[in-house]
């Protein structure tokens, strides 16, 4: 043992330092571990405030001893580089490790060990931990709001069908790929609208809806046999004709008959709520704010002063005010401007308000992409004789939109996180339902469980979305 200098550990006595240091570190961690998990105090003979300082000091000395650069032992080098580069880092690392260890037992005990998982009423929650029975009992409400239990299959069916129809794009064969844009921008939103406003709402209009679907299916099948030249007029005229025929000519008698029977039960939009409402609002606002934002950003870059200044005014206005005032406005001021007997549904008003609001943000994001594109692309397209719209649709937008994917994903994420604000107009999505539930006299005092539950749900959704958009961005980066 030659020249052991504790202030400057070096490679010569590597293993001495190593073992000594590791021993000290392990001891300190063990002490904290035993203290927090089992409440055993190894150094009980010391006053209480020292009990945190001592493991810190011991661990610090230990880390100091093993801080040997280029020791040759691979795992030691990795350890040193990552958490032990200097004294400051060493202390911070120790503090983080200790804090994590110390906070595990209370978290575990609240979440799992002392928690109650089953039961029907408040009395079942006797432990000092979380009352998950509360969540289980209210689960239906949190998911579906006040929508009647018996009818919830309609919401499930709608979401599953829409999810399936939405993923059609991945399975489309080559021949249909060119119709995909038309499908997603026009047809899919219409189908979604029909599902949600007729199927979920219910009522006698359900039969209108089914006739609409039948008409659409027939016209699509027949559509394959129509020559290209007439396709556009065909798709507008024929489905409407078939629909009118079905409703008023063929099944008129039956319709009256059925109308007298129990159709799907009518559920007014005020009763919709919970996570399903979050999805519905997010979905529709997503669909609407994108095209509106696109036109706004193009308008802002236009050469016509009227369009340009209207776009700028619109964008700056919606970006300058808080969403909550917009929602206030939509619920209080909007009806004032309409004639007496016209009434626009609460949910529709909210969707319009939020779509316009988010469209302004989307417009700014897209504008960034349009500006980032090199001027040469605009020049080249113009020099080939392309007009404004052809140039944008064929050359500019395909490139610009790829550039702004992270920005748009961010805006969508913000949209989902803004949906809880609709409590202002009286619609209760999941956070609103939580607030309602916690004031229920049978279940007082469980606010914490509710918020933790909602936090977990939102965290999963938002984290998944941001990871997906990150992957999408990486994929497009490499394609270029």
């Amino acid at each position: 043992m030659n020249n052991l200098n504790f202030l400057t550990p070096d490679k010569k006595n590597l293993y001495t330092y190593l073992y000594l240091g590791l021993f000290l570190i392990s001891f300190s961690i063990l002490d904290v571990f035993l203290n927090s998990f089992f409440k055993i105090n190894l150094i009980f003979f010391l006053p209480s405030f020292l009990s945190f300082i001592l493991p810190l000091t011991i661990g610090f000395i230990g880390l100091h001893l093993i801080r040997i650069e280029y020791s040759g032992v691979k795992s030691l080098d990795i350890l040193n580089k990552n958490i032990n580069t200097n004294n400051f880092n060493a202390i911070l690392s120790l503090i983080i490790i200790f804090v994590v260890i110390k906070s595990l037992p209370p978290l575990l005990s609240w979440f799992v060990i002392d928690a109650n998982f089953s039961g029907d009423s408040k009395d079942a929650c006797t432990g000092s931990g979380a009352c998950w029975a509360y969540i289980k009992t209210w689960f239906n409400r949190f998911m579906y709001g006040m929508y009647p239990n018996a009818e919830q299959w309609r919401i499930n069916l709608s979401f599953i069908s829409l999810a399936f129809l939405g993923s059609v794009g991945f399975f489309a064969s080559e021949k249909f790929k060119k119709y995909l844009t038309l499908y997603y921008v026009v047809i899919y939103p219409i189908i979604a609208f029909l599902f949600i406003f007729f199927f979920i709402s219910g009522g006698p209009v359900f039969f209108d809806f089914s006739y609409g679907i039948i008409a659409a299916v027939i016209s699509v099948i027949v559509g394959f046999f129509i020559p290209n030249k007439f396709k556009m007029y065909y798709f507008i005229i024929v489905p409407i004709t078939i629909y009118i025929l079905l409703k008023y000519v063929f099944f008129y008698e039956e319709l009256i008959e059925l109308g007298k029977l129990e159709a799907l039960e009518w559920v007014e939009t005020g009763a919709w709520g919970g996570l399903s409402l979050t999805f519905i609002v997010s979905f529709f606002c997503l669909i609407f704010c994108f095209p509106i934002g696109l036109f706004l950003s193009l308008g802002r870059r236009s050469d016509l002063p009227l369009i340009k200044y209207i776009s700028i005014g619109f964008i700056e206005f919606w970006r300058g005010v808080p969403l909550i005032t917009v929602l206030f406005m939509s619920s209080v001021m909007f009806p004032m401007f309409l004639p007496e007997d016209m009434f626009i549904d609460k949910l529709v008003r909210v969707i319009i308000a939020i779509s316009l609001f988010e469209a302004a943000y989307v417009a700014e994001v897209i504008r960034g992409g349009l500006q980032a594109l090199p001027r040469g692309q605009y020049d080249a397209a113009k020099s080939l004789g392309m007009g404004y719209w052809k140039m944008h649709i064929l050359v500019i937008l395909p490139q610009a939109l790829k550039l702004v994917i992270p920005g748009i994903a961010n805006t969508f994420l913000a949209l989902v996180k803004d949906t809880p604000l609709i409590f202002v107009v009286g619609l209760l999505e999941i956070v609103g339902m939580l607030n309602l539930a916690k004031t229920n006299p049978d279940w007082l005092g469980f606010a914490m469980e509710g918020y933790v539950f909602a936090s977990i749900v939102f965290f999963i959704i938002c984290y998944a979305m941001s990871k997906y958009s990150y992957n999408l961005e990486q994929k497009y980066k490499t394609e270029r």
Binding site: P374, G376, D379, A380, K382, S383, G385, G387, K390, L394
Partner: protein
């Protein structure tokens, strides 16, 4: 006197307070090749960008193939379809394959059926000897290959006039030759060309007329042989001595 396919008369242009073109007068006959040279900032690029109205002139008149360039939009797109342009930065569309780059305008502007457009594209790509790369994307090609594709793309619109804005300035020396060869072939086939370039070898081989511009004005304009043998202005002599 054969037809003047381009007539530029008393053209003046300002960028803000800075006058970039001063009293330009130029007539280009059909099937002629004109080379425009001069120092940086002399207005050469601006001049040819005025011909397909990527820049707008404030005074004077520019008449291309009988059409005067004014603010009329319909007019501009038709003229641009007749005038092809090749840029210094190639400006190929990165999200489309080479073939699609070439067929894009014929399909959407000239409303050609797809098969016909593709045949046309392959024909022009073969002329610049790059037909085998038709299904690749611009990012996968070298600079010289990209520029040749850009030439083919402009040719697919069957223009009457081809404008070249320093087509080889952004290329590595090894690739300049392949692009110049393509341009020489084009010239020999009879296309009316206006080329802004520093490549005097090309000018000597192919140009009918050489124009020297400096500080926004046409300083000297002469037939090629005359231009190189007996430059009249001192500025021209200085310029030639620096680049030859």
């Amino acid at each position: 006197m054969s037809d003047n396919i381009i007539q530029i008369k008393d053209v003046n242009k300002w960028f803000g307070d800075f006058q970039v073109l001063k009293n330009i007068n130029l007539n280009v006959e059909k099937n002629k090749k004109i080379v425009v040279c001069g120092p940086s900032g002399s207005g050469k690029s601006t001049l040819i960008r005025c011909i397909n109205r990527l820049e707008e002139h404030q005074q004077g008149s520019i008449i291309v193939d009988g059409n005067e360039l004014t603010e009329d939009t319909k007019n501009i797109e038709q003229i641009r379809a007749e005038v092809g342009m090749v840029f210094q930065q190639f400006n190929l569309f990165p999200h489309l394959s080479i073939l699609d780059n070439c067929t894009l305008a014929p399909i959407w502007v000239k409303k050609m059926p797809k098969k016909e457009a593709e045949d046309l594209a392959i024909k022009h790509l073969e002329k610049v000897q790059i037909a085998d790369q038709a299904h690749k994307f611009p990012g996968q090609l070298s600079g010289g290959q990209q520029q040749r594709c850009a030439i083919a793309r402009a040719l697919c619109m069957e223009p009457k006039i081809m404008l070249f804005d320093e087509p080889t300035s952004a290329l590595d020396p090894e690739m300049i030759k392949e692009v110049l060869d393509a341009m020489v072939n084009l010239a020999k086939a009879g296309m009316t060309m206006i080329v802004v370039t520093h490549e005097m070898g090309f000018a000597k081989e192919v140009a009918d007329e050489v124009i020297f511009m400096d500080e926004g004005m046409i300083v000297e304009k002469a037939a090629t042989k005359e231009f190189f043998a007996n430059p009249k202005s001192d500025r021209t002599k200085l310029f030639l001595s620096q680049i030859l």
